[in-house]
Symmetry: D2
Subunit: 334 residues, 4 copies
């Protein structure tokens, strides 16, 4: 099989008024993303709140994405809570025809690197489908470059890594120590800010939450970079920073991205985790800024929600913001 390459969209899960998966909207989003020429799909990742779905719901999401993918490859999150369940999910993904599964380091418990290696070796030995190792140290145990290297050089089933550590030196070490010895090993970036630099240094693509909100922007950076038009790729990359910064720094990831989808016109519903009043205020403020950035970038459907806010370098701040801020910080000060 060909190496994994390109941009895979981490899929959001929209909910209906009862908190159930809004299946029709999910299908609509997948088809819309397909029409934007993304490379493939990435359901059941962090963006997809896999941890808050039931096992059956995760299977349902996969099925829907597979049905709507239109032949595009699927990289499917399979970070189930124990080896047997991971393998069961691997089988399910294989049956659906997914290209590979993506598995995070174990979460909750802290484990030694040696046992994390043993875990992935066992999965690699038994999985019926290719595996991408997903490093996301903010949420789950980090997988060291040395462990990843031994796994990559020993296990044919482990075909790549997705790195969401926002750690560029680590990304380069993976290229230098692993890809140089196994050129078909895919090294994907999972952090928007590093897309352009990672492609420049030799990366193979990425799985980037923003791609669900502005597939046009992400795919443009990717295509210009692939074509060697680095100045244009960099220009758009810098423009992406504002957009990404607003969404990723909003409280309670992935809520900032949920706002982004709404501004593009999708009905993604309320989160699966209750938002406090204070966080609602902060997210509303963020959303108004995000709308302006989107509108300015040509996504006219967002223009109506744009409420301009004074420059961050100025010491002045709009009265409306002050109120929002006060409400938001009062509980913190107490």
């Amino acid at each position: 099989m060909a190496a994994i390459e390109g941009i895979f969209v981490p899929n959001i899960v929209p909910y209906d008024a009862h908190g159930r998966i809004a299946e029709a909207e999910l299908r609509y989003i997948i088809r819309w993303l397909g029409s934007k020429d993304v490379t493939g799909f990435y359901p059941n990742g962090s963006m997809g709140e896999f941890i808050r779905l039931s096992y059956e719901e995760r299977k349902r999401v996969l099925k829907i994405v597979a049905e709507e993918a239109g032949g595009k490859p699927i990289l499917a999150g399979a970070a189930e809570p124990n080896v047997d369940l991971v393998l069961e999910m691997c089988g399910y993904c294989a049956d659906l025809g997914c290209r590979a599964v993506s598995i995070t380091g174990p979460y909750y418990f802290k484990l030694t690197q040696e046992s994390i290696e043993a875990y992935f070796r066992e999965l690699a030995a038994k999985s019926p489908i290719d595996i991408v190792i997903y490093n996301i140290p903010a949420f789950a145990n980090e997988i060291s470059v040395q462990v990843l290297k031994r796994l990559a050089l020993d296990c044919p089933r482990i075909v790549g890594t997705k790195d969401t550590s926002r750690d560029m030196p680590r990304f380069q070490s993976v290229l230098h120590e692993i890809k140089s010895q196994r050129p078909d090993f895919s090294v994907l970036i999972g952090w928007e800010e590093l897309l352009c630099a990672s492609l420049f240094m030799g990366g193979d693509g990425g799985t980037l939450s923003s791609c669900g909100v502005v597939p046009e922007v992400i795919m443009k950076i990717y295509r210009e970079a692939r074509a060697g038009n680095w100045n244009e790729a960099k220009r758009v990359q810098f423009k992406l920073l504002d957009l990404f910064s607003l969404m990723v720094n909003a409280p309670n990831f992935p809520e900032g991205f949920r706002s982004g989808y709404e501004l593009r016109g999708f009905k993604v519903g309320h989160a699966r985790f209750p938002l406090s009043e204070e966080d609602h205020v902060i997210i509303e403020t963020m959303r108004a800024r995000l709308a302006c950035v989107l509108a300015e970038a040509g996504f006219t459907e967002a223009a109506l929600s744009c409420r301009p806010i004074k420059s961050a370098t100025s010491r002045n701040i709009a009265a409306a913001d002050v109120e929002a801020i006060v409400r938001a910080v009062i509980s913190k000060m107490k």
Copy 2:
């Protein structure tokens, strides 16, 4: 209902050769613990690897513990992955007659304190059973004292907290800021080293993994403390430190405690997560030391496994240890 007080044993889950729950052994352990006069049981906590069981397995564990508890109160872990599933589990625990559920802060995603507060408020409003808030910042989002205070003073359903942060100043703040205003609010320690000091300052008891391995020791500290025999309580507390240190510092919690159960004669089987060769070696070394500490403390069943190791302050080290160490560190150096 009376305030929660005393020592609740966090239950281990023994597995059979196929990795399935060893139900007969679990029943046997619960009855044995009951015979040691522990106050109550605490299934589906971190010690019980709740995160690695399926939803159905967690229910099965609860049922077995309830059947064997002999009327002792049960504090049941219910940290399910979303609000609906937590509430469903709360209902199940209520039906089984559990005294309360214990719920950790959310894990994996990082959330604001305000939204964590909103989460517990929603649970408190809808749960059919009392709730104990379980603070374990090493594995899940911390719950700040200020959030805990607002919850405790506003929500009758939230009846206590279990603190596994190993943070004594925090524990005292909870006593000072919350228990002083709501005296029936239970403040339980979840860290062995602080049992004696926490009882001295005004705590109500604890949930301590060591209590499954040496219930005699933990219950003695508790009873001497309650009787005001502080010198005796402190003497045993200091003896407990060696035991606890070996078990809690072993790689891949709760593997150190699993070894402890084995040394007491139980058949707890292999972990639900693969151990590396290196970690096996380290745990075997730890186990030999643990056996000596247990044997010295009068738990004669452990004596056979005791393999003495030279003093830690000496610069010499046994040849056997060197070998074990070398094997263990080689991978790290590479």
Copy 3:
């Protein structure tokens, strides 16, 4: 020489309008503290901003404290930037008749535990005065219990430790692993919240910044504890928590304690590091609350500055506070 025991006050350095050491005020403070029956003095610690003084200024502070100590023992900070300078300062302290020096782990660079051990071994071999090892991991390299143990058991010159890690399990390990084998080794707490619990478990006293502000309170806890009046000791300990919490959580330690001195009537001047407008506002708010707590505790000189603030659990907040908060957070939001 007798083991070090009791309460040593970490001395503030007051400044005049030109930012120079206000020598007369410093002498006045030392004499006042002496009249409150503190055990001894602790100049050139973190509270004394040793890092912001020149080498000559640190010597001058020592000389003044020695002249005003009235025969009480002095534990002198000597964390100079390299071995030669530490030893030179040790000689100076010995000549002044100090009881011992206190030396932090090295700061700025991160060092291995083994080299930190080598550093203290070299100092112990050459110092003309006893050494107390000062563990303050928030500001300088931590010194592990195992390193401390080897040093304590091998080096007669190293006579104790001061622990500001706020880590009660660590404090107990030091008692258990070191003091049990070398009973004259002094184990002092450097964190107010743990004074009572540390004395209960077997500690020898403390060096506590609050003791400069409310020597009456700290000495009462110490004396009641030593007399075995634990209920009274605990009662006052819990009262101390509010006071300490306000001072230690104020921005830019030791600014909160500086406010405390001012409320007791001393003229300590402006800090050696510029405070932002925002931090001034926050400290003023803190100071008004601190004044109330002090006044309520019977320190009537603080009453005039008391400006009551609504309860932290209430969702309301005074208009004056809102303004202060807004100004304080605006820069953060930008």
Copy 4:
């Protein structure tokens, strides 16, 4: 004055057998580096152990470097412990004709971002020489991008930043939020692994410790990048990774770089901080590997010290290494 651009070498301080600055060797090193066409010099940075020198020694180092610089620009570390001393040092550097001073965030105490901003504003208002803000969060308080932005846009005296955070997203934010608005603001990288990527994204150069050891390599990356020969720049950048990784990961920075200087033939003497036996062993092992990497890269003077070690991915390890490792880890296990 022209914007700061290019590669500034952080200078090592060589010591003689008595631990005093080896002035002749320092002069020799500076002249040698000048002959390698580095852009300029950077004395009294972290590499120069500024924190372990006395105030007078730091001045002496500056004077020597200024005398040997041959007209090349000097960026001088001036992170003195308080505002008055920083300004005094700024005056000294101005008199010597340095191009600018470099000042870290304050160390030891933790300070708010607002007060760090006030600190730099005061320095900027009073300094007679241009200031570069040096962000090195591993050792000193981080300076947030928002604070840096306000300083850069308000203070003409603050002309650039040096970033040693190894944080590429931060580096890009500085380019995007600051340099886009003030194009003459210099953005220098202080982390070798990011040299090529930072230049590609728009950086102005760097201050890189490796440049003292292999000026040929660093200058080649810089010149190829500036000439637009990106493939060649990347090829050399990847080769640099092994070299840098060995030196930066050696215990007790900057000891790894000291070994590098020795392998190039300089007599840099022993460190200003005692090395443990264990760390000596680890550094010797590292040095043997470093020699091979240097020899392979064409620095033939290092060939004699090269002692090959088996590949890191192999599970085998040379007997000599095992011994070294054992000795190194024994103390850790105890």
